[in-house]
């Protein structure tokens, strides 16, 4: 991390369990620098999506604090509504409104006076000519673009993407990865996305967060990871896996 850097997101000792049972997230502490892209990598059920939902305000944490742009949005006494957190979230299934056209979907959260700005987004996301189509008439890649455009239309400071590439074919995945990075850098947008594919993470993220069993087991920046040779990366990933197993055994004791 750079010194004197501004952090858009600060998470401190965040924990979450459902119905008071086993913790889905335990003591998660993390800081995201403004304008950076962070990939959350981990196996299914390790708490990746829950972490995004807590940041967005769709879930309430048991303990810990979440600060966005210096403002505490979640703590024991504070729980700000999702829309007032300056955060946008794109769901894994895109969650497009099926009875609204592409244009209506994108303009849904925008005041009428700002409708013109959404036209630029339609252009930016390569959706020209699709404005009057309904979600069921679009491909998965196009749906993903509409979902991202709709989220960007309300000008969030932090964009959260839940498994953005999971339903896409290889070609679409590859082009969308590049586009997300390009758009994030163009709009100086901070992004956090969930994936279980390390290749996605390495391709677009500035930093990678390895999550296992609800805990952060490793935090690293992509550049340093890329400077290691393949064998080193392999050893590195095995070490992470070992740490995760160790954590799990400690927990079971």
């Amino acid at each position: 991390m750079k010194k004197n850097s501004t952090h858009i997101l600060k998470i401190s000792e965040l924990s979450k369990s459902f119905d008071g049972k086993q913790n889905v997230l335990s003591d998660v502490t993390y800081q995201l620098e403004q304008g950076n892209i962070c990939a959350i990598v981990g196996e299914s059920g390790c708490g990746k999506t829950t972490l995004l939902r807590l940041i967005s305000g769709l879930e309430v944490s048991e303990s810990g604090t979440i600060t966005i742009l210096g403002e505490t949005v979640s703590s024991i006494n504070v729980n700000k509504a999702p829309h007032s957190r300056k955060v946008g979230m794109v769901f894994q299934n895109y969650a497009l409104f099926p009875h609204l056209t592409v244009k209506q979907n994108i303009q849904f959260g925008v005041a009428k006076i700002e409708y013109d700005s959404t036209l630029k987004l339609i252009e930016l996301m390569g959706l020209e000519g699709k404005e009057h189509q309904y979600p069921h008439e679009l491909s998965s890649g196009q749906k993903q673009r509409v979902a991202i455009a709709r989220t960007l239309a309300v000008k969030p400071k932090l964009l959260l993407l839940d498994e953005p590439f999971s339903n896409l074919d290889l070609l679409t995945k590859s082009s969308l990865r590049k586009e997300i990075r390009k758009i994030a850098k163009l709009l100086s947008l901070s992004v956090m996305f969930v994936t279980h594919d390390l290749y996605d993470a390495v391709d677009i993220a500035d930093e990678i967060l390895f999550l296992s069993d609800g805990r952060i087991v490793q935090e690293c920046d992509t550049e340093s990871l890329m400077h290691q040779n393949v064998d080193e990366i392999k050893v590195y990933l095995e070490q992470i896996q070992e740490q995760a197993k160790h954590l799990l055994s400690l927990k079971n004791k």
Binding site: H83, M89, G109, R150
Partner: protein, 257 residues
């Protein structure tokens, strides 16, 4: 092998023939005989009353159903979820039992209101249209609740959550996202309750005000007076309206699919 060609269709047609077609033909024959004496302004008035009662009940039931489906989603209180389960048990209780217990328990409420607050509400409770509609709602809430709840679960929570993230309130989300998507099951729920209320007999017999008549009651009264053939006109009107409602339900189901 040849006998299968007529045996299988015959087996499949038996319930329709003996349960619907033959009784219907008999009703048509009786209706033809009583046509001139029975099809009068009183019959039109009774039909309209039946339609109005069933329509109002179905609308109010759908309103309560939406409350039961969405209030637990909006408020994460466990007690509401349990309450919803209890509220929808009305369908397993016979109509006559609901009628008797409702009148009996209401009497306590009436006397409490009078003794403690001096408010007379007896006219609202005993043999009033309000208590009849309330009893119908309790009886048929589950009929509307189950398909609407199932459809709302199929729609999922992500659409609403997306809307909240985009700065929209729960009510705005409900009217602009959930309601348009639920329209077909709301219409089906409305028509199913409507049909059930039109046909309901024991509850109506017990609770109806003296000046209110329904087609089901009229047909029953004729049959009870051993004037079976005169029951044909109200029965056929009832069948016609129910068939129309069923046709509309199938249209909405096709639209949903």
């Amino acid at each position: 092998m040849g006998y299968k060609k007529w045996l299988i269709p015959l087996i499949c047609a038996t319930p329709f023939l003996f349960g619907f077609l033959f009784p219907l033909l008999q009703l048509v024959k009786w209706a033809y005989v009583n046509f001139s004496t029975q099809l009068n302004i009183e019959h039109v008035f009774i039909s309209l009353q039946s339609l109005l009662i069933a329509g109002i009940t179905a609308v109010v039931t759908i309103f309560f159903t939406l409350c039961l489906v969405y209030f637990p989603k909006w408020n994460r209180l466990r007690i509401i979820k349990h309450l919803v389960k209890f509220t929808t048990v009305g369908y397993i209780i016979p109509g006559a039992v609901i009628g008797i217990t409702l009148v009996a328990s209401s009497s306590y409420f009436v006397s409490i209101m009078y003794n403690f607050f001096g408010i007379e509400i007896g006219y609202l409770v005993y043999s009033s249209i309000y208590i009849l509609i309330f009893a119908y709602i309790f009886r048929f809430l589950a009929v509307a609740y189950n398909p609407i709840e199932a459809h709302s679960l199929r729609i999922g929570s992500n659409l609403s959550e997306s809307s909240y993230m985009l700065g929209k309130s729960k009510l705005h989300t409900f009217f602009n996202i959930q309601f348009p998507l639920l329209k077909s099951s709301l219409m089906s729920g409305f028509l199913i309750v409507f049909i059930d209320v039109m046909k309901e007999l024991p509850l109506t017999l017990l609770l109806k005000p003296y000046n209110v008549q329904t087609l089901a009651i009229k047909a029953y009264e004729f049959a009870d007076d051993e004037r079976v053939s005169e029951a044909a006109i109200p029965s056929l009107t009832l069948i016609g309206l129910v068939c129309l409602a069923m046709y509309l339900i199938s249209m909405f189901r096709d639209e949903k699919e």
